[in-house]
Symmetry: C3
Subunit: 139 residues, 3 copies
């Protein structure tokens, strides 16, 4: 799908908020339907997921403590007609070792977020087994 | 080099395709010459490279199994007049440990890709020893 | 804050330059006040930081040797009326293990940098304890 850029949103998430919950709420308020999400910061007690293909489910990995967020990459698209934020994250501990995966939740200490909002036909997720995915295109 | 944005492409790569091969083919079909590439997903049996300066070659690191792709960063520019995709990747295993480097190949399980296509004088790679690099600018 | 895109800058940093120092100088020369920064490359002897909340200071982690830069994510905003580059980084060693955090310094071997320059009211950092942060917005 091809899009044009409608606006770029840059903001800091207040301390203590769940990162994905905050972005979902921001997207709903701003009526963002399709977007690219990135950012950096510091996160407390994140929970990440690793997809187990054979079980069709995410294994949850709990990471107690404070982590540098070395990258946030992801997107916003529509799921059940509401903006849905899908983020993968890299997290650095006190010795610089990086852990990461599919972000399930995490409390913001600092988060500098960029949302590149797109205009065009909204991208939608549809169910594929236990996942919800975009349709593939023929290439 | 300064560019304007021509279009933003967002798509999911079909299961089983080589990630870089698919993006190169997509870029050729869409006549994308200069672009920024990012994305997330899940990749099987990726092979990454670490550049050994003293040998002027990449050491290949084979990673059997399924990995969360926690970040894709890279670009498309022209090499020998054809779109050439250069990607670095971070990959999370089942305990959330991250491995990564220069992406050589990897089979897509899921990949949500963003290509920010640029307009302006195409960026070109030229040979520098064993590498092909963009010209540097004076700053 | 909402922005429009003014231009996208793509360039390679010359070998031997400090990555952040080079981007700060480039931003000052090009009068870039608010921007999104990303990129990939290879870096020598990087020094990264992990923020120790209880001390209000960064712990420095020195990483001797050559690393693949698997991701650069960050931004440019104004601090004391001058462009200030804030970058988090992921770095891969010779076996593909990733280390990362807040980038303090590092000498470029290769760096392919993308700066998405924004137009609109410049984003500014103001002191919060020992940090300088953007104002939060109410959401």
């Amino acid at each position: 799908m091809k899009y044009q850029i409608k606006a770029v949103h840059m903001f800091r998430v207040p301390e203590g908020r769940d990162l994905i919950g905050y972005i979902n709420k921001y997207a709903a308020k701003e009526d963002i339907r399709t977007a690219v999400v990135s950012g950096i910061g510091t996160l407390q007690n994140p929970v990440i997921g690793y997809f187990m293909e054979e079980k069709g489910a995410y294994k949850k990995i709990e990471l107690p403590g404070m982590y540098e967020v070395t990258s946030i990459e992801g997107n916003i698209s529509l799921k059940d007609n509401r903006p849905f934020t899908h983020i993968h994250i890299n997290l650095g501990d006190a010795v610089g070792k990086i852990l990461g995966g599919h972000l399930i939740r995490g409390n913001v200490y600092i988060a500098e977020i960029v949302i590149i909002e797109l205009s065009g036909t909204p991208l939608e997720r549809i169910p594929y087994g236990s996942l919800s995915l975009w349709k593939t295109e023929s290439t």
